[in-house]
Symmetry: C2
Subunit: 420 residues, 2 copies
Amino acid sequence: MEGFPTLVSFKESRLKLAEVIKYRILETIDVALEDALNMVCAEDVLAPIDLPEFDRSAVDGYAVVAEDTFGSSPNNPVELKLIGRAHAGMNPSDIPRVNRGEAVEIYTGAYLPEGANAVVMVEHVNKSDGSIEVLYPVSPYQNVSKKGEDYKKGDLVIKKGTRIRPWHIGALAALNIPKVKVLRKPRLAILSTGSELVEVGSELKLGNVVNSSKPMLKSLLKEIGCEVLDLGTVPDDLEIIKESIKKGLSMADGVIITGGTSVGELDLVPEAINSLGKPGLVVHGIMMRPAKPTGFGIIDNKPVFILSGLPVAALVGFHNFIKPAVYMMLGLPEEPKITIRGRLTRRVANPHGVRSFVRVRVIRNGDSYYVEPFMLTGSGLISTLTKANGMLVIPEELEGYDEGEEVEVELFQPIDAASG
Amino acid sequence: MEGFPTLVSFKESRLKLAEVIKYRILETIDVALEDALNMVCAEDVLAPIDLPEFDRSAVDGYAVVAEDTFGSSPNNPVELKLIGRAHAGMNPSDIPRVNRGEAVEIYTGAYLPEGANAVVMVEHVNKSDGSIEVLYPVSPYQNVSKKGEDYKKGDLVIKKGTRIRPWHIGALAALNIPKVKVLRKPRLAILSTGSELVEVGSELKLGNVVNSSKPMLKSLLKEIGCEVLDLGTVPDDLEIIKESIKKGLSMADGVIITGGTSVGELDLVPEAINSLGKPGLVVHGIMMRPAKPTGFGIIDNKPVFILSGLPVAALVGFHNFIKPAVYMMLGLPEEPKITIRGRLTRRVANPHGVRSFVRVRVIRNGDSYYVEPFMLTGSGLISTLTKANGMLVIPEELEGYDEGEEVEVELFQPIDAASG
């Protein structure tokens, strides 16, 4: 039994993570629009047509020759002969041509009749039988959506590497593009180690511990767009651990192993990883708390992650190493975080060189926010996550924050107003 | 043809929305943990057991009687007889009892042997054959996770009304709770109206417009946890529109109708809604831009929404009325937005009494952020959404923002650094 051979700083371990992940490239697949949400676009999508495909009315009103309306005013309206009607969706050949002195009643989205070059809004017209009085002039192409004004054929619609959001789906649909090339979802396998672990819903015997990290990690992975493979729970046996990791690597893009990560005699996971291929473990033991026993490495060009079996440490390890790795695999920038500033209700200390992740409760009192830190120990206490609503990160160069100091907190749950 | 009978202010329409939505109550269902992510918890969940269920070691080390270690130091270590080993998951009856002068080798998570009341960390011990030297004292229950220290039986684990996040799933699993009562997903039906509309992937004829709002809205609804029912596209025919709304109301918790929302003769949707039941349309025409033709009402205690068929207006209407309605149905607070402050590159004007939603592009240049507003017109131009990365809201009491003024922008896409 001994400590980690070398503890690596948080910053250095993040740099090494970037080296590890560069090996993996996800294939591209074609998906239908309705399956494209939050997938990463794998090609520059160019507009295949002009949008709109034709000049169309942007309002309900009257299609006219703009020049006919010049000089009109409520005191001096211009009378135009009403020669027909244009509804959205009508075949252009069924819409009469507009000549000087004429107008066609037109609806939003309808094809602009031949000869017309502007639309007078319905509010700016007096209508009578067979004719209209135009009260205000329109300039050429006023109230007209011109052919190609949204996208011209060949315009860039979605840049390669963009995460597809609902408005991208709208744009693809508008351009009549029913499918899009995306990166397939990263597939990650989870292996739980620990002879004490049982599945949720089991009949508990004294000494058993329910595997809580696995269902939490599954939902975390699904939420960032991964497919999850469950490799089950294995006892502390080197050969069985090795076989399970090999199976995971053959089926997935990477393997996450929980438990077996501290440094006791039964911690067979590092040995298993190092025996399966080069370079094996790259980092094991990071100067952070909780989650010091986090590690990662490479086998057959695929990443392997070690997370603590304790849920708080597993969560912190996930957020700082697995989520960034998945974003790197997808070529996405890190997401901005929802943060809030508030005053610390008591001092929090930080050991030299360590990055600490302190669960906090942010409380609002009127217009002021207060940040109440939970104890820094207890990475086994999942209640600190369900009671907290934010995470305070103390960087390695600071010795901590003082009581009353204003700090920035990442929010992961809503803030309640102070109850008392 | 005439304008909206009464335009309602944005604030008043939001108040009326709250009145409309109070009628709907979603039933509760039981779901397995793996299906519970992002569902709304429908009961106060109490811990059914103590967690941990037994005193267990929080570290790798040696279980001892704390009093034996008092006064120990590297110069004056205390020798204890090693009488056995305790692994995580071992049956307590297989673990020897620790008496004064004795120690048991113990691993993280293992049952604390009878008689022991503390654990000395492995780093604070010299081990030899059959005995250990303790170099530093431990106090009673040091390095022990005490029975019930995470949750005591009966503790509140998840409050009713909480959206279930991954750490809640972890907590439920840790407490061996395999199922949880949640509100079922709101079910919303979408009806598209407009004789010009065709589905994406159709062969386009001149005058056709691809329905882009429907796939966008479907993905927006799914993203906030709704089930979506597609009522298809209907032509501008009062009876057909009425039948489709009735069908939607019979199958869903509410109906969203796109198109047919401005004020032409062919705008049959308001008439259809008002003829189907009381009170019918509550708001139609809101002092906002875009999305002025947004509306909502009640038929048979179920909400009905009207959105513009133009994608930008549909999106703004969705974010300001449908998303809040869904959150009200679920009893959830509004989510905090990801915002950024930057300087406007040019003035944007706002008509009196109107709330404007301006698509903007936020650009980073070194440490400075600049906000470039897009034109306020063009709610038909979906390209303003794919080119923008943020939304600037101008409240009704302001006449606009000046060039160079610092404004707060809601981000909906990542910020690129300025390219030139």
